[in-house]
């Protein structure tokens, strides 16, 4: 038979679960979970009575509080004066400190799972997109340029790099490869020589041949990109760590920021995904596949709102009533930072927002914490803990 105290805790836990699920709790005693508890325990009426009995509630007036505070201030000031004359801290105080801290550790250790994601961060620091030519030359893409590589003309049009192949190249068996590196807070596009347009999100990298020669068109992606693949006779393949995506015409989004999984969302056309040891899985439009590259398992979701996953392409964080976790994911990717929180704690929070991407992460966090009653605590450089109040 459960003790009165653990029973009380159970009831409160059930109530908290209901509240977090957003249930209407007006008639809480009739909820199955609570009802079950009630039927199983004779203390239930007592508990309800004690929760409703607030005869020991005493309203604290603001004046009372202010007075107590100034009393404290006075005492502290006096103590500060005295301390100036004493050099030695008592040993007793530090011992108490250690004991108390142990108590806290015990109290706070709940079984909340922290969501930890590690990112494949680009290894070097740079602040504008950079293209690395086949000869190793690095060109900053913040300036316009016209150059060529392997007989292919390359032009920087400000927000995208355009490759134009001339017909003479088809005898090159091993075309040169270029790589584009995207730093945080940047988006950039590249138009490959077959006309495929790839829009790259912050903290991403793509390696591709200057011209497509041979049986397949193959590119290597790290991070996140939106592909609009041009129709051609040869299949287009996107290789990212752990999986390969074969494109049978057209538009899809690949997100491989999280080093444990790759997320692909198909907007139009058809794509097939394959990992090292699975067969090809085909996606149709508005389907999303999440592939766990650690164990090669995957899941496919239908009727996905694709705008949730391609929102990063806009100049704003523009979301309408989406789960907070989605917005946080976008912010993480854009700024190259990490949020830690227990997924259950923000489960019920939905947000609509329209915020300019062109501002500091701190501003975004400050907006979110005002809007939503959550707080961001900086744990280390680039890592923040999210706490719901």
């Amino acid at each position: 038979m459960m003790s009165k105290i653990s029973f009380a805790t159970r009831v409160i836990q059930e109530m908290i679960i209901l509240i977090k699920r957003g249930e209407n709790c007006d008639d809480i005693a009739n909820y199955p979970a609570i009802k079950e508890l009630a039927e199983s325990n004779e203390y239930f009426p007592d508990l309800m009575r004690s929760l409703t009995d607030i005869s020991d509630f005493r309203y604290i007036t603001p004046q009372e509080k202010a007075q107590a505070r100034s009393h404290l201030m006075t005492v502290l000031r006096r103590k500060k004066e005295i301390r100036r004359h004493r050099r030695n801290l008592s040993v007793a105080a530090s011992i108490t400190g250690v004991l108390m801290l142990t108590a806290i550790a015990l109290y706070i250790s709940e079984t909340s799972q922290e969501k930890m994601i590690s990112y494949n961060m680009p290894s070097e620091n740079y602040s504008a997109p950079v293209v690395i030519l086949s000869n190793g030359e690095r060109i900053d893409l913040s300036e316009s340029l016209t150059t060529d590589d392997g007989n292919c003309r390359i032009e920087n049009h400000g927000d995208r790099l355009v490759y134009e192949s001339s017909d003479k190249l088809s005898d090159l068996s091993l075309p040169p490869h270029n790589t584009i590196l995207i730093p945080p807070r940047c988006r950039y596009s590249v138009i490959l020589s077959d006309g495929t347009k790839v829009t790259l999100n912050a903290n991403s990298e793509i390696e591709y041949p200057v011209i497509f020669n041979g049986d397949e068109r193959r590119v290597k992606l790290k991070g996140e990109a939106y592909f609009e693949v041009a129709k051609a006779s040869h299949p287009f393949i996107v290789a990212t760590e752990g999986i390969e995506i074969e494109v049978f015409g057209t538009s899809f989004n690949v997100d491989s920021h999280n080093c444990n999984e790759v997320i692909a969302v198909l907007i139009s056309g058809c794509i097939g995904l394959r990992t090292a040891d699975t067969e090809q899985v085909f996606l149709s439009p508005n389907q999303m596949a999440i592939v766990n590259i650690r164990d090669n398992s995957y899941s496919v979701t239908d009727s996905v709102n694709v705008s949730h996953y391609t929102g990063w392409k806009s100049d704003f964080f523009n979301y309408d009533n989406v789960p907070l976790s989605l917005l946080l994911k976008d912010v993480e990717a854009w700024y190259g930072i990490e949020f830690r929180y227990s997924p259950k704690s923000i489960d019920a929070i939905y947000v609509s927002a329209h915020m300019d991407r062109n501002q500091d992460a701190d501003r975004i966090m400050s907006i979110l914490s005002t809007l939503l009653d959550i707080k961001f605590y900086r744990k280390e450089v680039g890592i923040y803990e999210v706490v719901v109040r």
């Binding site: 509240i19 509630f57 108390m100 706070i108």
Partner: protein, 189 residues
């Protein structure tokens, strides 16, 4: 609880450095809940909750090597300290027949008491935001006075007491988020 809008990190840093103004801020922020928590434990003893809260702050002030990494950590530390302080206090007085045997507050009860004190603190804060007459009626009601007594106290009719109480409750309901709503509904029924 609404903290004066300010950089929490800065506040925490200053608190850790035992800055007096920072202590004052945190005191205001935590007072309600710590008070209600102490009040529950102080039942039947000669200690006053306000003194207990005061003493805990002084204690933390003096233990300059105790540093906190979050505001929540400060609250947890203080709640634990209050529990320990009161337990030790009643232990010492065990020989005195006036004091009932107080069992050490186990984790379950600790959690329950924290939730309860948190609710009361929330309620206290919300009451400040109600219009004066409704607030007065509701406060008396929450403190346990009967409608008749409240009517006499405030020199109004029982009908008016009833109306104002309902008005207060409906304002609270519209103001409070889901989290607190259930609890308040339960508490006020």
């Amino acid at each position: 609880m609404n903290l004066v809008h300010r950089d929490n990190e800065l506040l925490l840093e200053q608190f850790n450095q035992r800055d007096i103004a920072a202590f004052g801020e945190v005191y205001t922020y935590l007072y309600d809940q710590l008070y209600y928590f102490s009040a529950n434990l102080c039942c039947g003893s000669d200690l006053m909750p306000e003194d207990v809260v005061h003493d805990i702050f002084i204690k933390v002030w003096s233990s300059t090597d105790v540093k906190f990494s979050t505001l929540f950590g400060i609250k947890a530390y203080m709640l634990t300290s209050i529990r320990n302080l009161l337990y030790n206090h009643t232990l010492r007085k065990k020989h005195d027949r006036k004091y009932r045997q107080v069992a050490y507050m186990d984790d379950n009860l600790f959690v329950t008491q924290i939730v309860e004190s948190g609710i009361k603190a929330y309620l206290n804060q919300e009451l400040d935001l109600l219009p004066q007459e409704c607030a007065d009626v509701l406060k008396y009601h929450l403190e346990g006075w009967y409608t008749k007594e409240i009517a006499e106290k405030l020199n109004i009719s029982e009908r008016t007491v009833y109306n104002r109480k309902n008005e207060a409750l409906s304002i609270l309901k519209s103001r409070l988020d889901k989290k607190a709503l259930t609890i308040i509904v339960l508490l006020c029924s």
